[in-house]
């Protein structure tokens, strides 16, 4: 018998269940792309059959970090850049949980860049949504790791001398097994991509273009967008790593030239998730660690039985 009966519960799920009664209305600016992420999650979660209490949403700091204030699941609003180590450990302690991590581009690609690389590399079975608005929003408009070269801000008064980093290529190189880009301006695609990401058995990295009308571009600047799967101009195999890499390179090259390419870039359904790998080498118990503490029949090992080697 499980101590976590919200997990795997079969029932009708109403989209409104995901709206917290205590804080139904977000504080994001009018026209903010973050609304797009919230909406796509509220749509996707019931469609994949997840109830609010079997989901743990782990966020970082920034406007994006408020996501779990407005999405009524179990939530952990952590610290700047650290959503991923918290999230992946929760998954290891209880692999039955549906774990979604989220944060901004500064949070995930800047201060938390090391964690992003290693969490992707380990291929934890979780979803990571990066609210990419190419700017630091909550601290009022400073240049971020994805801001284009030449971007002027209060902290880069002469324009940034750095090239933006390439989020999709980074995810692929690091080891993510599902890499996609979507945009708040394209809600239908966003919902489908979030669903796929949640259902993917491995680390799913979604770079979510969320316009910041207050400090950076508004929605119009992400239109027209192109879905690389639907457009006849692009043809590549999402299961082929080399072709995916090439498509990502092109996408990242043209973003700041006014062409917004989105869609699925890489899907690897073959590689086992980290939990499976760890079980295979014998370093992960079959029964979730968290369940065992509630298991009245569990027989707890003790150090007294390990002493022979010391006598």
């Amino acid at each position: 018998m499980s101590a976590f009966n919200a997990i795997g519960e079969e029932r009708e799920i109403d989209r409104d269940e995901y709206t917290p009664g205590v804080e139904p209305q977000p504080t994001w600016c009018p026209g903010c792309g973050d609304f797009g992420v919230l909406k796509s999650l509220k749509q996707a979660l019931p469609e994949v059959g997840k109830t609010p209490e079997e989901v743990l949403t782990v966020t970082g700091i920034g406007c994006s970090g408020k996501l779990n204030s407005y999405l009524d699941t179990y939530g952990f609003h952590t610290i700047h850049g650290r959503s991923l180590p918290v999230a992946r450990a929760a998954k290891l302690a209880n692999p039955e949980l549906e774990v979604i991590a989220a944060g901004g581009d500064g949070d995930g690609y800047g201060i938390g860049g090391n964690h992003f690389i290693h969490t992707a590399r380990e291929n934890h079975d979780m979803t990571y949504i990066v609210f990419n608005n190419e700017i630091f929003g909550l601290t009022k408009g400073q240049t971020s790791p994805t801001s284009p070269k030449g971007h002027k801000s209060k902290t880069q008064p002469s324009g940034s001398a750095k090239s933006p980093l390439r989020p999709l290529s980074m995810g692929l190189n690091a080891g993510a097994t599902y890499v996609a880009r979507t945009a708040a301006v394209n809600p239908n695609q966003a919902k489908e991509i979030i669903k796929e990401a949640i259902e993917h058995d491995g680390f799913a990295h979604v770079d979510f273009l969320t316009q910041c009308p207050t400090w950076n571009k508004d929605a119009r600047q992400y239109v027209p967008y192109v879905d690389v799967q639907e457009s006849d101009d692009y043809e590549f195999d999402v299961n082929d790593r080399a072709e995916a890499a090439e498509m990502m390179r092109e996408t990242e090259d043209v973003l700041n030239e006014g062409t917004v390419l989105t869609g699925r870039y890489y899907v690897d359904d073959e590689s086992p998730s980290y939990t499976e790998e760890k079980k295979a080498v014998g370093e992960m118990p079959d029964q979730p660690v968290a369940e065992r503490y509630f298991d009245e029949d569990a027989e707890w090992e003790r150090s007294y039985d390990l002493l022979e080697r010391h006598t």
Binding site: F4, L92, P285
Partner: protein, 660 residues
């Protein structure tokens, strides 16, 4: 007692300030302190472990001390094993048997290089601390005749009544095919010179090896052993002591004890990043967890390590992480997050000499203030500082109990010395039930009765029924328990709130958990403080952590020579052992605080916590990378407390009382 020759030798960069007159050294004749020296990578550690175990099995109490450089191959290293019939609490003063094996990875001698002649160091570096009448065995196969001649060994041996036995251990080993066996040959010679039975050594070798390798080692062991009788003209009196144990013994390090305390406290998740000396605890648990249903994660950095422990604990595992000072610095953020979100967590901090990279393999007690206060805001954490192997086990177990009962990060602060030293402990000490409970965590059944807001969100940080200032928690995946955890100040259901009344309520409750914990520690548990000496004594010595053993021994000696001294070793750093330390300080005329750092951090803590006694306390400080020896504390007491008009001869510093 003669004092060995001092001075400034070629290649040394420091001035030895150990001058004449070691005071009051009443060294027991009934003890063996065997020092085996060589280079890093020469197997000194495993050789000594086996030898210590053999002595333990023969009925003796043992205590080991490791000295090693931050280097994989080469560099002067030694292990000391002190063995006696009665309990040995510290490394003792000096030593009486040297087995100098030679450093097979020594750098080539260079006139100008600061490291001088490394080849001779296994012998030369160890002479100053060898007691009068001591025994020296050195490998003349590795230490050249010329180098030895330069040491004036003969003359010094005569002055100090040392008994010197050069043996070609390397040659002997080569004859038997493998040069590494010179360690075994050295052990055989040692046993022969000390009249020690080979039985336990043979047993241990049989446990560790097999086949041809075992055969060859046994052969060389016996050959060396018999060589002593057949070829040596022995002149020394030193023999192995004899003793007997009432119950079965186990030889454990402080790191073993911490790891085992964690296992028995129900810990089944650890995340870490390697760093000396913390790596030992991480390794021991990583190796045991696969067999006992635990999960171990080696991750990208210490921020991640502590954040993983927070995440695992949040989801329901009893989790821990740890590091040494440099890595612990990175853990400040997740530590603060755990305080704010009231996530149970155990961290261990294994101190080494700082600041920065400092001296990676040398002990110091310099991270106390750092561990107590690091991370922004007012801290709400528990800090225990065990001083012995047994305390390390007890207090780690207790740390898990407190952390999960009170939903508060609990830190074990210890150091390189306690981490690596081995001591025998009664096996039955560990014969007790584990404590795998999740403390104040609710079940789904209990959650049904718990307070929720109108929309059904669980009041994880509610205002009602917070017994002992604790608001009970739920776990993700439980029905009826959803809430938001956040590093921001938050409302009863965990949403971000800057309401002043709520802020004051939550902040006060989190801080006042420490009062509730103090109350539980005082009323429901045996004291974590250790007392020694005569209760009515006039003078006090106060210490903390791993300096305990040397202080215990110093207090004994002072009392034996007519002084009226008692001691206390404090473990409860936060919440501070206020009542006990107050009572101790009130009961003495004066006190000396002994700690391994340069700025008297613990004395500062006592003054901060108690707000008085500043004029009663002096300090004895040591920060040269080596732990206190009892004689140094005895001398410190005499110079300092007894106000003798001289400077201490050891490399220590005395700091007068406030206002002096």
């Amino acid at each position: 007692m003669t004092i060995h020759s001092k001075g400034f030798r070629h290649g040394e960069t420091k001035i030895r300030i150990r001058l004449a007159n070691w005071p009051l050294i009443s060294m027991s004749d009934d003890e063996l302190i065997w020092r085996v020296s060589g280079g890093s990578g020469d197997g000194i550690d495993s050789t000594s472990q086996n030898f210590a175990k053999a002595l333990m099995r023969s009925g003796l109490d043992v205590f080991t001390h490791r000295h090693y450089p931050s280097r994989i191959r080469g560099g002067h290293t030694y292990v000391e094993i002190r063995a006696a019939a009665d309990e040995v609490q510290s490394r003792g003063d000096g030593y009486n048997f040297l087995l100098a094996l030679g450093d097979s990875f020594a750098r080539n001698p260079q006139e100008e290089a600061y490291y001088g002649n490394e080849e001779i160091k296994p012998l030369s570096e160890n002479l100053d601390e060898l007691r009068e009448g001591g025994v020296i065995v050195y490998d003349e196969g590795l230490l050249s005749e010329d180098d030895v001649a330069e040491l004036d060994l003969e003359e010094r041996a005569e002055e100090n009544d040392w008994h010197v036995y050069p043996v070609d251990l390397r040659g002997l080993a080569k004859e038997h095919g493998r040069e590494v066996m010179r360690n075994t040959a050295g052990v055989g010679i040692t046993a022969g010179l000390l009249d020690m039975q080979l039985e336990h050594i043979e047993d241990l070798m049989s446990d560790a090896m097999g086949g041809d390798i075992l055969e060859a080692n046994l052969e060389i062991l016996h050959e060396a052993y018999e060589m002593v009788d057949e070829e040596f003209e022995t002149t020394h009196d030193l023999r192995v002591p004899t003793g007997e144990h009432d119950t079965e013994q186990a030889l454990l390090s402080g790191s073993n004890a911490i790891a085992y305390g964690a296992i028995d406290g129900g810990c089944r998740f650890i995340a870490g990043y390697p760093m000396t000396p913390w790596t030992d605890v991480f390794t021991i648990l990583s190796q045991n967890f696969p067999d006992i249903g635990g999960v171990s994660e080696q991750v990208e950095d210490e921020i991640a390590a502590a954040a993983l422990a927070v995440g695992a604990s949040h989801a329901g595992a009893k989790a821990m992480s740890g590091s040494s000072g440099g890595g612990f610095a990175l853990m400040s953020e997740p530590l603060g997050l755990a305080e704010m979100t009231e996530t149970p967590l155990v961290l261990v901090e294994s101190m080494r000499a700082g600041p920065s990279t400092g001296m990676p393999t040398k002990p110091e007690q310099g991270d106390l203030e750092f561990v107590l206060y690091t991370s922004q805001g007012d801290s709400s954490r528990v800090v225990f500082a065990p001083g012995t192997i047994e305390e390390a086990y007890e207090q780690t177990r207790l740390a898990f109990h407190i952390a999960w009962e009170y939903q508060i990060p609990t830190i074990i602060i210890y150091d390189q010395k306690l981490s690596g030293e081995n001591k025998n402990v009664d096996v039955e000490f560990f014969d007790r039930e584990p404590e795998p409970g999740l403390g104040t965590t609710l079940t789904e059944e209990e959650l049904k009765e718990a307070a929720h807001d109108n929309s059904g969100k669980f009041e994880r940080f509610g205002y009602e029924d917070n017994e002992k200032n604790v608001s009970k928690r739920s776990l993700p995946g439980q029905k009826g328990g959803r809430y938001l955890a956040t590093g921001n100040e938050h409302s009863p259901v965990g949403h971000i709130s800057e309401d002043p009344d709520n802020r004051v309520y939550q902040m006060t409750r989190r801080i006042e958990k420490l009062d509730s914990i103090r109350e539980e520690l005082d009323e429901e548990h045996d004291s974590n403080q250790t007392y020694f000496g005569d209760e009515d004594a006039e003078y006090g010595i106060i210490t903390w952590g791993s300096s305990q053993g040397a202080v215990v021994e110093a207090v004994e000696r002072l009392n034996d020579s007519g002084h009226s001294v008692k001691g206390i070793s404090v473990s409860d750093m936060m919440p501070f052992a206020e009542a006990e330390v107050t009572e101790f300080l009130e009961s003495v005329d004066e006190a000396m605080v002994v700690e391994m750092n340069a700025t008297a951090q613990f004395r500062g803590l006592i003054q901060k916590e108690l707000g008085r006694f500043g004029d009663k306390m002096t300090s004895l400080l040591k920060y040269n990378g080596n732990p206190f020896e009892p004689a140094e504390i005895v001398e410190g007491y005499e110079v300092n407390v007894a106000e003798e008009d001289r400077e201490p001869s050891a490399q220590v510093r005395i700091e007068p009382a406030a206002g002096d």
